[in-house]
């Protein structure tokens, strides 16, 4: 039968506050008392429990919830270092300090290597309270850091899930909204055509409003769908030859180019690591905008690429109407427009899509412009995919 352990308590009126719960592994009563006294002299109010074997130790761990373990090296029925195994088995992160007679440096270092937090010689107990203080402080820091890491992991998880939910919602909403909207659009248009001039004077106007509203909604939903689709399908990531992409884009924009008399030139462009379809979308939106937001002269657009330390920097520059600097960030926000719908068509989603794509591929996008003097839209892409990029691009912006 193992001894249940004995208790030693200090009573201090000068130091109010919780007592340090210490678990001593010590068979010599005098030595135990000396340890407690050393702690008391060092400023601790102590409640110490003393055990001599594994069973009592394990029991005490569970019932006393000690903050620190102070163990002798050699006992008749046990070895002090074995307490570490028990601590590990119980899953407890409690500092263990070896309080022992002369051990020799080699053994001491070995003990620390095996998990003892520190060791104090029985004839140098004056150090003990400082050692205990440090051990407790380190334990607190460890616990705090652990908690913070868990918190962070949990938050990242929640955020990822929330993001996925939002994207899913945006996609489903815009997708499912299309069908009933199609009905409203078709039939308001039909009503407008069929009954023009046949009902009272306000009818044409009202039907017209309904019809226009429905058609605008249709385009908005399609744009939202396009926006929410970005990033849903990353299947096409690989090495992309930007010259080939530009050729495709020019073909798609051929009618607009012809109609506006636009002149579009580009440097020899590099190959980058990206999703081909998405990259084409970025070029198409930027070049398309350059053509659309033109001034009185036919648009002149040039596409260039420049190599910086870690990235390619592309620029699409035009001689169009330009953008006042105070709006330079605004224009990348979904549905933000700077002009009335009657002046320039569109919903203001093209640039938001560009931004989403560029950022998903590890780059940044911005504009350098002044009202009335053309714009230069720039974006960066890392050389070899997201692994090579090192976070944000701030240093690349002048």
């Amino acid at each position: 039968m193992s001894s249940a352990g004995t208790k030693l308590e200090t009573e201090s009126s000068a130091q109010p506050g919780p007592k340090l719960r210490a678990l001593l592994v010590e068979d010599n009563a005098l030595d135990a008392a000396l340890v407690v006294r050393a702690l008391y002299k060092g400023g601790f109010d102590v409640s110490a429990h003393i055990v001599q074997d594994e069973a009592a130790f394990t029991q005490a761990l569970r019932t006393q919830r000690p903050e620190i373990v102070l163990a002798d090296y050699n006992l008749p029925n046990w070895k002090g270092m074995e307490s570490l195994n028990v601590l590990r088995r119980e899953g407890l992160d409690i500092p263990m300090i070896l309080v022992s007679g002369a051990l020799g440096d080699v053994t001491a270092v070995e003990c620390i290597r095996q998990g003892a937090t520190d060791y104090v010689l029985k004839d140098s107990l004056a150090r003990l309270s400082e050692v205990v203080r440090r051990a407790l402080r380190e334990k607190d820091e460890r616990s705090l850091r652990h908690r913070m890491e868990e918190d962070l992991a949990r938050k990242v998880d929640e955020l990822a899930r929330s993001n996925a939910d939002l994207e899913q919602f945006a996609y489903v909403a815009s997708h499912d909204l299309q069908e009933p909207l199609r009905m409203v659009t078709a039939y308001t248009q039909l009503l407008a055509e069929r009954y023009r001039g046949k009902l009272d004077e306000n009818a044409d106007k009202y039907i017209g409003y309904a019809s226009e509203g429905a058609q605008r909604m249709q385009v908005l939903i399609q744009d939202l769908l396009a926006f929410s689709r970005v990033g849903r399908n990353n299947a096409g990531i690989g090495s992309v030859d930007c010259n080939a992409v530009m050729a495709d884009v020019l073909q798609t924009l051929a009618p607009a180019i012809q109609e506006s008399g636009a002149v579009i030139t580009h440097d020899a462009l590099p190959a980058v690591w990206a999703d081909r379809t998405q990259l084409a979308q970025v070029f198409q939106n930027l070049v398309g905008n350059a053509i659309k937001f033109r001034g009185k002269e036919p648009p002149v657009v040039s596409v260039q690429a420049e190599k910086t330390a870690q990235r390619w920097q592309f620029s699409v520059s035009d001689n169009g109407i330009g953008i006042a600097p105070e709006f330079a960030e605004n224009i990348f926000v979904v549905f933000q427009r700077l002009h009335a719908r009657t002046e320039y068509p569109g919903n203001g989603i093209g640039l938001a899509i560009c931004k989403k794509i560029v950022e998903r591929n590890g780059g940044k996008i911005w504009v350098e412009s002044r009202a009335g003097s053309g714009s230069s839209f720039k974006f960066t892409l890392p050389f070899h995919g997201l692994d090579a990029a090192e976070g944000s691009d701030c240093e690349d912006i002048a």
Binding site: Q178, E179, R182, M183, T185, A186, Y187, Q189, Q215, Q218
Partner: protein, 155 residues
């Protein structure tokens, strides 16, 4: 009205269309689009896949129906979907020659490919705005009833 030569004699053929769509609003739109056209004489319509087969097999209330010269088929139908109807048509010796135009809102690659694989003659996406919808439907009729040589009638 289309003209054809049968046994050396020019004969007027009255062309009939079958529209299979579960949305009566879309069926009405198709009829609106083709209103006034002289290329067809009759537009029949059914709202689900089972009724489509009942019509095509001339059963129950469709005992006296004539086989259509063109089927405009939606994909998402209740009871039996468009692809199942297509498969059933291609399996029947007297139905499989009838041209089928898939007319659906779906733009999914797999729907388009499956339709072709199962023998649809072509695939047209239902346009979102009215003008394009009308234009698409009119083009379908103009092409199939105005230009194409349709398969010879069974009887």
């Amino acid at each position: 009205m289309a003209l054809t030569r049968q046994k050396g004699v020019i004969v007027k053929i009255l062309l009939e269309l079958l529209v299979v769509d579960d949305n009566p609003a879309d069926i009405a739109l198709v009829c609106e689009a083709l209103a006034g056209s002289k290329l067809h004489s009759k537009i029949n319509s059914v709202g689900d896949g089972v009724e489509a087969m009942t019509f095509l097999n001339r059963r129950e209330k469709y005992v006296n129906a004539l086989p259509p010269d063109l089927v405009i088929l939606d994909l998402n139908l209740p009871k039996r979907d468009g692809l199942a109807v297509l498969a059933a048509m291609k399996a029947g010796p007297d139905l499989r020659r009838i041209p089928v135009v898939i007319f659906s809102t779906s733009q999914l690659r797999r729907d388009i490919v499956r339709s072709y694989e199962m023998g649809a003659n072509c695939y047209v996406s239902k346009p979102g705005n009215l003008t394009e919808f009308f234009s698409a439907v009119k083009s379908i009729e103009e092409f199939w009833f105005g230009f194409v040589n349709l398969p010879p009638r069974g009887e």
